[in-house]
Symmetry: C2
Subunit: 225 residues, 2 copies
DNA sequence: ACCTAATCGAAAGTATTACTATCATCTCAA
DNA sequence: TTGAGATGATAGTAATACTTTCGATTAGGT
């Protein structure tokens, strides 16, 4: 093929690069499927090994723990998101249109860049990020993991949101906090809408577009007139 | 004493009411301390039993699992918050002042109602809620737990926030979602400020009052002029 | 074709967790 | 004084989250 886009993940997250072997690719792809289906707590390397008809120890040769595998997905997701945002906002100069695109990218409602040969199930990954991502940093070793740069893609993505908000609203003081609010809330409002609907205004419609509308209005209305 | 205020927790959360015995009270009070100090994942009933110089099995007679104990704290916290909000907004009619009080209550910066004989460490509990609360509902059995009404106090508190927002801004369509955004974000922004500061605008000052200012402005600016 | 290193799978082992079950003791209220 | 309820000690279970060892297979370089 004439070109290729590759998501490059922090090397410290794995022991052996899963991209470089069939087994590695299977671990990642089936890992996403399984965590999506059974939830992070039920998921074990033993079960994954059984599904791949291999041995637990083989998986441990790629990832030193379940937590690192989750961090791998988390990194992968935000690097991919970063690319999607860059791609979809290319040649767009209107700040409001950029905000609009941002929200659609975050909700996985953009035109997906199809990468040839790419096996990662983006929808399953998106569901994992919604439900499990906060478990990557709500731990007692956040600081350590942060020093190892495991949250860098997430923080970089946030910085880009802050920039977009700044372009729309240069006098606003809380661009970073509003940015992280939007990212977290696009996931939480979705989760609440599905599971604890009275915490949202979308319990009846269960329409993701309403979440986008809510957050868009939230960002736009922060501008003083 | 002439009066007493008691936080009443859903009976399905415990096997034996911990309020009714010394051991029960110790489980609850030392449980809060330990989870605060070592984090939820490190905390076990065995360690708690060792600290109380009792046996694991005795603790299991009060709470059928660690998760239920966490839910107990979560319920307790939101019922107590509910009382604090009611108490502190009593006789206040100005909507903006109510919003202000709400944010200070949520940040534990209100005048604390001191309940005589009350042992629960509110500051430790508050830290637990910041760091561990989302783990109560980001599970595969949310729906079950929700049916058992375990999230009722949290949802009730949210409904009150929605009312307060509505009183200030009657035309606003997203009162519930904005309410849950504010509650979640007062905790997340605090956590980010301490642990992943680049996700906020408060990394340098580390000042909780700035979080309150950010959220206050966020709520107030949603009103159309 | 041959050697070597890397990779893999199988099996077993370890420490810990999250419980459950049994039983003896202790206390306190009728 | 009797007996119900609460407690404490011990033991046991199934599962998790790994680690270690070892032998077989495979792949790459000369």
């Amino acid at each position: 093929m004439a070109w290729e886009i590759q998501v490059k993940v922090n090397e410290n997250l794995y022991l052996r690069n899963p991209e470089n072997s069939e087994l590695g690719k299977n671990i990642v792809n089936h890992g996403v499927q399984m965590i999506d289906q059974m939830g992070l707590e039920e998921f074990t390397f033993k079960k994954l090994a059984a599904r791949l008809k291999t041995n637990e120890s083989s998986i441990y040769r790629y990832f030193e723990s379940k937590h690192r595998l989750l961090l791998y997905f988390f990194e992968w997701y935000w690097r991919w998101m970063d690319y999607q945002l860059m791609f979809n906002t290319n040649n767009v100069s209107d700040p409001i249109e950029k905000i609009n695109i941002l929200l659609h990218v975050l909700m996985l409602k953009q035109d997906n860049m199809v990468v040839p040969g790419e096996l990662m199930d983006k929808e399953a990954l998106h569901r994992i990020v919604i439900k499990e991502a906060s478990k990557t940093y709500l731990t007692k070793h956040v600081t350590e993991d942060n020093q190892k740069q495991f949250f860098k893609p997430y923080k970089d993505f946030n910085a880009k949101i802050a920039e977009i908000i700044h372009a729309y609203n240069p006098d606003y003081k809380y661009t970073r906090s509003l940015g992280s609010t939007v990212v977290e809330m696009i996931h939480y409002q979705y989760f609440f809408m599905q599971n604890l609907p009275s915490l949202t205004d979308f319990g009846t419609s269960k329409d993701e577009n309403e979440i986008i509308a809510f957050l868009k209005e939230l960002i736009l209305s922060c501008k003083r007139n």
